[in-house]
Symmetry: C2
Subunit: 189 residues, 2 copies
DNA sequence: GCCTGCATAGTCAGGGCTGACTATAGAAAG
DNA sequence: CTTTCTATAGTCAGCCCTGACTATGCAGGC
């Protein structure tokens, strides 16, 4: 849903052709949802089919393939954009990356390995945080909205980092011993 | 990926048939990844195809349809389980629920509406937090691992809540004025 | 005995998304 | 002038997943 929002939002200021959109989306990788080329064309086709965009084949001025498909937003598209904007802002879909499930089954690993895997996760996440921060540059330089979006990205990552730290401390504190040795690949008790 | 982990983890203690798995997954809705019935059968088939599970058709003892497909984990399945457990714990895939995109485009709404939409989001998220907390019950009663998983779920939601609050304050603080009136559904500047 | 309703058990068409592919225009090299 | 290389532009088979559907056995009322 937010992918359509993004496309309509990018086309609002003026028409673009497919590959151009692709480059914009790739460039702002962190802020915008990542979207592979094939998916992008699929969505553009759908938006065109539903009358939110119009397509014109511009004969090969320069570039490749001899034809570039130029997408232009329609009045219906602008309305849809506003609608989606409201909808996405309003709604919240928390999703579950799967660690929760892994944690529940953590008793099937020896404590030492569990701890070192969590430590590895911690490093991975920290690395990612640095990378995202670097890619965002100085958000304040791009206005308050950019700053808010950047804050969202980073604070989610920070929450994950804090959770890992807390959990490691907690496991240590309660003296968690993990799996019996034979449980790692063995039969149920 | 974590869905396979979950299925293998549930079958580790002993064989189950499809519908039974379905009920378990539904019951623990918040902790386990939500998985619709059709997806579950699809994954079971795949796991069976790859030799991680075996299937036997048990003739209709009781229940429906006259046949229930009983799934049993194999040795390869146990190995796969351990492998997935390590992989899921180690890796981190942050995902972008789309608000970021919406925030970037927030300048296309009047400030007053933007603020009230964010406030609505705040209520939605708070509600969800209460619901999740209720469904989790007392996590400490189910051991430290359950407690850690619950902490993860709630802290992600809390991070979202904190972000909304910060952002509302920030918008107020900088005296953000939002879109020019004609931009809401109008032409680009 | 028969009908209705419900819980159980599984299937199917089709939508969203991706990795890997094809195809073209022009630049660089010889 | 031809070959080769690169950036550009778009397509396709096929995977994962879901909503809606089919089908069966049993309980209870009449």
């Amino acid at each position: 849903m937010h992918k359509e929002l993004m496309l309509l939002g990018l086309l609002r200021p003026g028409s673009l052709y497919g590959y151009e959109l692709h480059r914009i989306v790739q460039a702002h990788g962190e802020l915008y949802s990542d979207m592979k080329k094939a998916n992008l064309y699929y969505l553009l086709d759908r938006l065109a089919g539903s009358g939110h965009l119009t397509v014109q084949a511009e004969p090969g001025t320069r570039g490749a393939r001899g034809e570039r498909l130029v997408y232009t937003i329609t009045a219906a598209g602008r309305e849809r954009f506003a609608e989606l904007l409201r909808e996405v802002l309003r709604s919240y879909e928390p999703d579950h990356n799967g660690v929760d499930v892994a944690v529940i089954f953590l008793s099937h690993l020896p404590a030492s390995e569990a701890v070192s895997l969590l430590a590895e996760r911690q490093r991975t996440v920290a690395e990612r945080r640095a990378q995202v921060a670097a890619e965002l540059g100085d958000p304040a330089a791009h206005g308050p909205l950019r700053q808010i979006a950047a804050d969202h990205l980073l604070s989610q990552i920070d929450a994950e980092l804090n959770w890992i730290e807390r959990s490691l401390a907690f496991l240590h504190e309660v003296g968690w011993t993990g799996a019996a040795k034979e449980d790692v690949n063995g039969q149920p008790a």
